[in-house]
Symmetry: C3
Subunit: 147 residues, 3 copies
């Protein structure tokens, strides 16, 4: 059992400006604040969303677009290092006017109508993403396996 | 780049009583505990849910009801000040007996069958909601823009 | 108003190995790390999912399976004591290749393709699950009611 224990240093709380690109804005914030290991949660609404589903056999992301106003019912993500830079990985759940729900892996092109964000900034061992042959994903290094 | 850095003081953990109104109960707790900036997460089930979709063009919330037992698959929210009082903003995802998912902005009238809640209480600058002409929403003041 | 205030001691951050059983792995980690009160959040993907809907009238969980690759759009859970041992309670939201969303209460049998997990380990009063006649669930003891 490896510990992988982190200490919460501080939490950034704020909103993204109307029209902001959700993915690009969060990437910029974590790079500017030099967050090495982080956790993201947000709620709000989008004016347009671009998400992806990862095809585990083809090993590639398949993009989808959800135009028009949607609630951000929840948005969950994390921050770690990829190629030496803080990198965000974010999933989103969107709700339409009938309460139906859609979601996926957040891609650039997702625009915030309003977005209230919490970013936890942790202290501890670096988490580095490396390409993994088996899944085709950039996953955290093997020494970050829990359990 | 403004810091907007908060420190986690303590986390309230507990359940809502069976039959509690989800929105009203959380509002009462954060006011009683004087939480100025907070983060909420919960899971559980509802016996009835009232949620809303915000129509970005009409600038108004459209209500929907989901009667009967539903899983609370996740519930994400925050606490800030509106009119000088702690105010909760909560989104919810509900699951039915076929695993289908619905969701929206939580309104009064959503009744808990069971609900296990975490409320993080942060120390830092006040976050105040003010009416915003552009979106029609009560958003956090401009000085709380991240990035 | 009872306080139920907890202090965050540390946060475990890491990934589950490819092929891990989501429920069993998280149960094993919290038991090995002796987490008494915890909060779980994760994103990733499954190769197969087994979830349940709780029928509030029949007072039993109805299982459903979602075979094939699905995104873990978010996974929310907590840790408390049941029969004196750390016990995990987890809900999940899954996304398919069309962005459609399904979800429920996570059961053993849910297999991770990739899964990035945060587990908050809190210090404070024990939270014990006891059988509750009214709901048929193992809920936290009455002294853990908030509000």
């Amino acid at each position: 059992m490896t510990p992988h224990a982190y200490r919460l240093k501080r939490t950034f709380v704020g909103q993204l400006p109307n029209g902001a690109d959700l993915y690009e804005s969060l990437a910029k914030i974590v790079q500017a604040e030099d967050i090495i290991v982080g956790r993201i949660v947000a709620i709000g609404a989008t004016t347009h969303a671009v998400v992806a589903y990862y095809d585990q056999k083809k090993k590639k992301y398949m993009k989808m677009e959800f135009p028009g106003g949607m609630e951000i019912l929840t948005c969950t993500g994390n921050v770690s290092l990829r190629d030496g830079k803080p990198f965000v990985h974010i999933h989103i759940l969107l709700g339409d006017r009938k309460g139906r729900v859609f979601g996926g892996h957040v891609m650039p092109g997702t625009k915030a109508f309003a977005c209230e964000v919490f970013i936890d900034d942790f202290e501890g061992e670096e988490l580095k993403r490396m390409h993994d042959e088996q899944t085709g994903l950039y996953v955290w290094q093997k020494n970050s396996v829990l359990g």
